[in-house]
């Protein structure tokens, strides 16, 4: 497939936004049961603003993928059958939940505004956050299933696609939360850094598993089934036209094999070892009381985000559409 940069940015930006929100809510739930020091509302408000910015950035990027963006509202109608339609519904719902979460933190409301008194501080935000968490995971599911549900795109048609989307978003969001906490809530840095390492290790396993799976795939469709001729040697002599067409542009990545392969190694380095190295460097700087740790965490997030762009590019480019069988030779 030809990777569309609108979709590459959409999936990576909303992934980081969802992950950051999950990180904020995780810290708040831990604090609610006194496993972590409680943070003042400023931490959650500013964190929600960053998460909203990432989600809106992704939403804006997605519009560049559409031929008729002014009709985008129509795409919420077929949620019964289309995962894309479901994503179109869940993404604004998620956005709304994060906005509400940040707003209620900012206003300092709790359940006493509806006359319920509890002992838990920020009980209303905990409830809104639970809804947001549900939407965040639903959005990961929708985004992943958009690709995983097309059964003849064999590289995508696997539960690993959904797991990878979820874990990549989580890793990116928790790494951003680490950098954010370094500025806003230093006592959370170790907590976030530990979770970042765990999620990154998990997604390393699942992504490498999917790379191994894809390398071993045997295409179900062949030229024999494509034109229905049972012959061992079939070669295309003409695709019917000399110039390009949608079929030759949309479904081929058009990159030299060497560059294609090197992008795999680029993302494998930029997403996994390099940010983990920077995370470790930042933590050791932080342990010695040096403020530069915050910069190193930010650099780790930036490096990993660039790596995730490469990962998403590779995810699209690696998928081999069966229609390509019909477009092997110009003439």
């Amino acid at each position: 497939m030809h990777p569309a940069f609108s979709v590459v940015f959409l999936t990576t930006l909303i992934g980081a936004g969802q992950g950051l929100f999950l990180a904020l809510y995780t810290a708040q739930s831990y604090a609610a049961v006194k496993l972590l020091p409680a943070q003042d509302s400023r931490f959650y408000v500013l964190g929600s603003v960053i998460a909203v910015a990432l989600l809106v950035g992704g939403l804006i990027a997605s519009f560049f993928h559409l031929g008729h963006p002014e009709r985008a509202w129509r795409s919420a109608t077929r949620w019964r059958t289309s995962w894309l339609s479901r994503e179109v519904i869940v993404l604004p719902a998620m956005l709304g939940a994060v906005v509400a979460y940040g707003l209620v933190h900012w206003l300092g409301w709790d359940l006493s505004i509806v006359g319920i008194k509890t002992q838990v501080p920020g009980d209303l935000t905990l409830i809104i956050g639970a809804g947001g968490t549900l939407f965040a995971f639903a959005l990961f599911l929708c985004t992943g299933m958009i690709y995983a549900c097309i059964k003849f795109l064999q590289e995508w048609a696997s539960w690993l696609t959904v797991v990878n989307y979820t874990l990549f978003g989580g890793a990116s969001g928790f790494l951003l939360a680490t950098a954010y906490a370094a500025y806003m809530a230093p006592e959370l840095v170790k907590f976030y850094a530990a979770w970042t390492a765990v999620i990154t290790a998990a997604v390393f396993i699942t992504r490498v598993a999917s790379l191994i799976r894809n390398a071993r795939l045997k295409p179900t469709s062949t030229l024999q089934t494509a034109i229905g001729v049972r012959h061992q040697r079939i070669s295309q002599k003409s695709q019917g036209f000399m110039g390009g067409s949608f079929n030759t542009r949309e479904f081929f990545h058009g990159v030299k094999p060497l560059l294609f392969k090197s992008i795999k190694w680029v993302f494998l380095v930029l997403v996994f070892p390099l940010p983990m190295l920077l995370l470790w460097a930042g933590l050791s700087l932080y342990a010695h009381g040096q403020e530069q740790g915050a910069y190193v965490f930010s650099a780790a997030f930036a490096v990993q985000y660039v790596g995730l762009l490469a990962e998403r590019w590779f995810f699209f480019a690696q998928s081999n559409h069966p229609q390509n069988l019909y477009y092997q030779t110009v003439s």
Partner: protein, 243 residues
């Protein structure tokens, strides 16, 4: 239930592209709007087409066989492009099984083109909506045309009658008979899309002559020429034909 479809006889197709040009001519002049082209006379021409003829070669020189392969939307009975559409612009008509795109609902997200294993859908680069073969839905029901002319433009254009059009759910129709009697098959059956369009395979008519048919069994002396007439009392090979 009706399922209109094309049956394309690969044994007859000569790869002349007449179906391609007549399809483009009819559909670019239709009420649904033009099919846009870019740089038609330039170095890298491109444009919207519903139908293409491709050429494949089987075997190795000199034992080769050329297969001309017309390729257009197969109007699947279980079309994977329809459920993925987020707006409902892509739909399958229940009354005749034609898969169509509502150009006023389409947002141009291209997801349906990803979901078609055959690559039969393409975006019109100027109108920014997905387009595909409509089976000439604007002419097959046009009562102002003679009944003979109420067929897709490609079918009418084909000089060798390689393209048949009809209801594949009607066992008595020309297309159903062609499928059942001439070995009609569907493309990429492995994905369960159940294409309505079928292709008829390349066929060869061969005369099989057994060796004993080259030798006259009733000529043991291998002498050609008029055989001597046996007496009426003589026994013959079959007791009948010697006279």
């Amino acid at each position: 239930m009706t399922q209109l479809a094309l049956v394309i006889d690969l044994n007859v197709c000569v790869g002349c592209h007449a179906c391609v040009t007549s399809c483009k001519e009819w559909n670019t002049s239709g009420s649904a709007g033009y099919m846009s082209d870019d740089r038609p006379y330039g170095e890298d021409p491109t444009g919207t087409f519903f139908n293409r003829v491709q050429t494949f070669e089987c075997g190795e020189f000199p034992n080769t066989e050329t297969v001309h392969f017309p390729k257009s939307c197969l109007h699947c009975e279980d079309p994977p492009c329809v459920p993925v559409c987020p707006t409902g612009a892509s739909y399958k008509r229940p009354e005749d099984g034609i898969v169509l795109v509502d150009y006023d609902l389409c947002i141009g997200c291209k997801y349906c083109s990803w979901a078609c294993p055959y690559g039969m859908r393409e975006i019109d680069e100027h109108q920014k909506v997905m387009k595909k073969c409509t089976l000439c839905v604007d002419r097959i029901y046009d009562m102002s045309l003679d009944e003979e002319r109420r067929k897709p433009a490609c079918v009418l254009a084909c000089p060798t009658s390689a393209r048949l059009f009809g209801d594949v759910h009607d066992p008595e129709s020309e297309v159903s008979i062609a499928i059942s009697e001439s070995g009609g098959y569907a493309l990429m059956p492995e994905w369960g899309t159940k294409p309505a369009n079928h292709y008829l395979p390349r066929r060869k008519t061969r005369m099989k002559i057994h060796e004993d048919e080259l030798v006259r069994a009733d000529n043991p002396l291998k002498k050609e020429g008029k055989q001597p007439k046996p007496k009426i009392t003589d026994p013959s090979l079959d007791d009948v034909t010697s006279w």
